[in-house]
Subunit: 246 residues, 2 copies
């Protein structure tokens, strides 16, 4: 197994960082790594906002549900789907790109482009000995995030990514057994379910790590979470940003 | 610069592969690498279909717009957002998760989860000396893809990923200058545009590589593409699969 795959397989989310800030060179290398990812038809439909301003970071931590590591880290990136640039570019050619940009297809393109870039950045950061954590919590209040970061029409924040020097390691959460995720030549309905063994494994995992206080099975934890709808404002918000309208 | 970052920065899409198939061990390692990516709240909302059946590969190549490398490669993966498993799991707990699963928020979660996994797989593959290419072309006909791969409700194919031993190298397409993608502490409207220098660079790039036949500027190429809406069936199809409905 090579060093890159070792890095990938060693991933765990880090939520405690030292006060050391990333250097300008680190940030540049991470953004370059992000940009090297594949992009749909060369469209480059995303932007990355780096947040270093202390007050803005504190505000984002609050918006994300009071997660202090959103403020305390080496660097905070916010990944956005971005067709603002393309719409501006089209004006110079007297072209109308609105039908295209407002489609669900292009919404998917922007989200996928941004996510591929972010995961490249994550792997690059971890290969440098840094820790990372995705911050889906910013989706609690995307209107607030948009205002704070002055995001125009068609710049849709998707998630944050905190990067920094880890001060506390975390355990790696076991993933679903391969046969539940990977199907050959077609979807096998019975492979998607029958998760008893995995549930046992996760229950033991929590039991051991909480001194017996927790013993949730994965299916119980996840379905419980899903039974409480959240961020139901999203459809309307995404449309108000100019996406997913037709 | 370490080996992992070198691999990431060296990325280029490969569209010509030898006939050598990936071994079972290679495929396992690639899927494990994909699974090691971050996943929103531990939800693991995606599945990967490996396609080895020759007829199915030919059919997918046809659906994707006649791209022969979709059929001729070392292995073909199709990445899908997947909440089918979660809906099935919820039945055992008598929980209703439909409101949650049908939200635009969870559509985004599924797409992001799948994309993070795919990019991990891409980096892992390239670190092994393999080449990759994303196949957005499968979105030309997701109904056809769904039928071919027997994908149930809530299993939404997003893109393919071909992997294999490269027989022909391609050039790396220059990315947008960093200041157009990366903004600090807020979105800078004037950094998103003013792409004259980049346009010059891309025009020379095409000129050199086509013996003067092409000299498109990036803004021209991309806005021209965007002025022709495509895959406008997507909104309805995604909803028919159970996503993005509220």
């Amino acid at each position: 197994m090579n060093e890159t795959i070792r890095t990938i397989l060693e991933h765990r989310s880090i939520r405690h960082f030292s006060e050391d800030k990333l250097t300008k060179e680190d940030v540049k290398l991470l953004v370059q790594s992000a940009q090297a990812a594949s992009t749909s038809s060369y469209i480059q439909a995303y932007s990355i906002i780096g947040v270093t301003d202390r007050q803005k970071k504190e505000k984002l931590a609050e918006l994300a549900g009071g997660q202090q590591y959103v403020a305390d880290n080496g660097h905070l990136f916010v990944f956005c789907a971005d067709f603002y640039r393309h719409e501006e570019m089209a004006k110079a050619y007297n072209l109308d790109v609105s039908e295209s940009v407002e489609s669900t297809e292009k919404f998917m393109v922007g989200v996928i482009d941004a996510a591929l870039a972010a995961q490249n950045m994550s792997v690059a950061a971890e290969s440098m000995g840094l820790g990372i954590c995705y911050i889906g919590g910013i989706r609690n209040d995307l209107q607030g995030v948009s205002e704070l970061l002055q995001l125009p029409h068609l710049v849709l924040p998707l998630f944050g990514l905190v990067v920094g020097h880890p001060t506390k390691e975390t355990d790696q959460k076991p993933r679903l057994p391969l046969q539940h995720i990977y199907h050959e030549n077609g979807y096998h309905l019975d492979h998607a379910t029958h998760l008893e063994e995995y549930d046992e494994l996760i229950s033991s995992y929590y039991h051991e790590r909480t001194g017996g206080k927790r013993h949730d099975r994965w299916t119980e934890q996840i379905t419980g979470m899903l039974s409480m709808p959240k961020r139901m404002y999203m459809k309307q918000f995404v449309e108000s940003k100019g996406y997913n309208k037709r």
